[in-house]
């Protein structure tokens, strides 16, 4: 069968296979945009993959001061994990080590829902007895005295069990430059979708993995079928005109969010075309037996 083509870009008849995750959201505010971003960037550092980092985290979007609870500029951060326990530990550790410590910061719940994860409830003990609990209506805050004043932190934030992790696009291009250009444009388009993050560096991962390895201790190893330098030596998935593959991985609070992000990314890649961007787009899956969410590329095309 001939591959589908859109604006000259070949689209694999394939699908991204995604998994259910636990997700949560917090809003970090600070005296100005720069320090709100700094706290959020620190909190979401080393959070590219649950395999080695415990959590996948990223910045969803910035919020102007007139829309935040304390009237200061804010950044919404999403954190995902495979289990509620891990997510709880990761959230408390990341807020405690990265947001509490960041000058002038405050941290608020930013996801509704009956299931709650403690934030202030677990890091309040840093106050050594000087922490102050404040309730208003159904909202509960902790005030923890710190050296630049007070750290204000909401007691809990919402938890969703309907989050989806592992949506992805594989961009295949003729050169690293053109592939990178397509990937950057796709990332920019996908960042406009609310409720999703792209956890890898700048949204892009170059070391896609396959399940298993020749070494017993390794759960995952390099995806040799997509490595251009092994094209002649292994059962490759790459065509003669592909010399570089980059992947974009998407985690979202909802299945629709992940689909919207993949749609936005595909549109940007197709619009750029094969000459200056990707010649072919695929998606990673494990045959469809492991993950319950299947995002078929043909359904998401512009």
């Amino acid at each position: 069968m001939r591959p589908m083509k859109k604006n000259g870009v070949r689209i694999d008849d394939s699908f991204a296979e995604a998994f259910p995750m636990r997700g949560t959201a917090v809003l970090i505010t600070a005296p100005n945009r720069r320090w709100a971003r700094q706290a959020a960037a620190t909190m979401t550092g080393f959070a590219t993959s649950v395999i080695g980092c415990g959590a996948e985290a990223g910045i969803d979007r910035e919020r102007p001061g007139n829309t935040t609870p304390d009237g200061r500029p804010g950044v919404r951060v999403l954190v995902f994990s495979m289990s509620t326990d891990t997510l709880q530990t990761q959230l408390a550790n990341r807020v405690g080590q990265c947001v509490l410590t960041s000058p002038g910061s405050a941290c608020f719940a930013d996801l509704d829902g009956a299931d709650r994860l403690p934030i202030g409830d677990s890091i309040r003990y840093f106050g050594d007895g000087w922490q102050v609990s404040k309730k208003f209506g159904d909202r509960h805050f902790w005030r923890i005295p710190v050296m630049d004043g007070e750290f204000l932190c909401e007691a809990t934030t919402g938890l969703t069990k309907k989050a989806v992790g592992g949506g992805n696009l594989l961009l295949m291009g003729a050169t690293p430059e053109t592939t990178m250009r397509a990937a950057e444009l796709a990332v920019a388009a996908m960042n406009n979708v609310e409720g999703v993050i792209l956890p890898f560096p700048g949204g892009i991962v170059r070391s896609g993995s396959k399940v298993g390895s020749k070494y017993k201790a390794m759960m995952a190893s390099t995806n040799d079928a997509y490595c251009p330098t092994l094209r002649g030596a292994v059962a490759t998935n790459l065509d003669e005109d592909v010399d570089c593959v980059l992947e974009i991985v998407i985690d979202g609070l909802t299945e629709e969010g992940v689909a919207d992000a993949m749609r936005a990314g595909l549109a940007a890649i197709v619009k750029l075309g094969p000459d200056h961007g990707a010649v072919r787009v695929g998606a990673g899956n494990y045959g469809g037996k492991l993950g319950p969410f299947h995002f078929h590329l043909k359904d998401l095309l512009p």
């Binding site: 304390d70 609990s133 209506g137 805050f141 007070e150």
Partner: protein, 268 residues
Amino acid sequence: MKPLVLTLKHEPNQRLDLAPLAPHLLEGKSVKDVAAIELQTTRETITVGDIFKIRSGGTGSIRFEGGSVRLDNIGQNMNAGEIVIEGDCGKSPGRNMSGGNLVAMGDCGHFAGSAMSGGRLEIAGDAGGFLGAPLEGEMEGMTGGLLIVRGNAGARAGDRLRRGTIVIEGSAGDFPGSRMIAGTLIVLGECGCLPGYLMRRGTIVLADPPELAPTFVDCGEHDLAFASVFSGLLRPESRAAARLLSRPLIRFAGDMAALGKGEIFFPA
């Protein structure tokens, strides 16, 4: 659904206990049942039908037309629904209430919102003494909800306050926030002597503070995120309270004669 309307026929000749007229107690009752409820506090029986003209409606919302300082305990123990009093009322409106909305358009007596644990109580006129306070022998006063007085409040407002927020838009009498356990008390007008007397924890915000007791210690001027958040949360209820909380505030910690983890804020 239209509210159940109770119009006062004449000034009662004795104090009446209106606690049985809370929405959760009237659920499913007919006008005839309601008219038969006894309200007297002396040996002379007075029923709802004797003293009020009743216009039927949903019992989730009750409206008193005409008020009297002899109408005590309105909305006592209420946990949902709404009561509006278009006039004055006596002692303890909203005592022990845990939910719903109680609005007194006139003045009310002592112990308004006494030991309330939730819901919203608004008094458009003045409140008597011991706003939200516990009765004799009780350990805690108000433990939740929102209590707003648009006029003035008497002495000991917020006594033994444990949780929840009290806003007094007018002036407060002596010893506001006495023996506070925690919670928030905001006074926008003048304030009587010794605010926060023997308070343990909690927050008092005063627009116009008197001289504080020497057992309150200066912690300096601050611009706190918590004050901005409360300012935003209070804005729909009291714009003046929201304005006060959005200003830079001086913090005094106390009462050092008690636990000393409370605080009094006032504008710099």
